[in-house]
Amino acid sequence: MGRGFSQDVSALDSSGVLAPEARKWRMSLLAMECDRSQNPDPLIPRGSATRKSKSHFLSVDVLEWYHSIVLAGKRKNAKGSATRDITVTCGNNGLPPTDSHFYGWAVDIGQNTNPWLTRAIAVDCFTKSFLRGPGGSYAQQKYNSSDPNQGWHFHFQYFPGKNYSFGFAPLPIEPQGK
């Protein structure tokens, strides 16, 4: 596993919209290698500043969707001086064609890697930036492994899920392997 991509929120204009000139820059954003046989958001060992792995391009369309999550990071970060990065811990790479991630329609954002991203922030972002209602987008909070102590991630997908499900799935946190 390796270091994910980081999106510097300074690319956003005052209204929070990604500036047109940032398009090329956004294309260079990278996602972590993602493999369902591995933990999508492993705990970062103490003393380890970065992870090493392959990097892959992430769909620009997908980036539009979690734009408000970046904003949330910016808002949280307004109290401090440094900018806050967001790391997508699973993009559209390393997964089979049967997975919505494969087509760039879904991303996972892990809480171990993005410790500031609470469920409340994720729900708020989903509400503001994703399609709502029947036929809309789907999101859930899911454990990284069968051991809840290994943390959890948020899964966001643009299209409805199974049973044409839409919206942010209620608690409890979805177990891994379901």
Binding site: G133, Y138, N163, G167, P170, P172
Partner: protein
């Protein structure tokens, strides 16, 4: 002493009556309205699943600050965003969450919904309360049978199935 003994029962009876009134209030407030009516919207996101594709009904969980409402909504077509609310139930405990994947062993082919504590880390647990859904009448019917609910992931692509299909499949296994 007698008064002290009776007090918990009186409180329980009052709470039960209050709960019943609340349930009636919920039905009066929601049933027959459009799911998009301005006065019944929540700041948070709905969560919904296709209940019955033949009748184009959806189960929609709408969380408010102090109450969570579960709706049966019938859309005119699959492309609609709004529909008519056919029935509604509510829970007022912040700790509890509606669950769409519940199982009544006495009627395994029925669509059953229930509630569980949101902080429950188990995959499957006993429902705190449960309702059987009458697909034809499009109503919730509270049941007291022992029902188990499973945390289900709906991530992935829609395969055209609905909750009726899921219940039938579960019953056949």
């Amino acid at each position: 002493m007698t008064r002290l003994t009776l007090f918990p029962f009186l409180v329980a009876a009052l709470l039960a009556v209050a709960g019943g009134v609340r349930a009636q209030d919920v039905k009066q407030k929601y049933v027959g309205k459009s799911s998009c009516a301005h006065d019944i919207q929540s700041d948070g996101p709905d969560f919904g699943s296709l209940l019955d594709k033949n009748r184009n009904t959806y189960l929609i969980n709408r969380p408010f600050l102090r109450v969570k409402v579960l709706l049966i909504v019938q859309l005119k077509s699959k492309n609609d965003k709004c529909g008519v609310i056919k029935d509604a139930v509510a829970i007022t405990s912040i700790a509890k969450e509606f669950q769409f994947s519940c199982f009544d062993p006495s009627a395994p082919g029925d669509v059953v919904v229930g509630t569980r504590n949101g902080n429950d880390t188990r995959t499957t647990g006993t429902a705190i309360e449960a309702w059987r859904i009458d697909i034809v009448k499009q109503t919730f019917n509270k049941i007291t049978n022992k029902v188990s609910c499973t945390s289900e992931s709906y991530a992935g692509s829609d395969d055209g199935s609905d909750l009726v299909d899921v219940a039938k499949k579960r019953a056949s296994q």
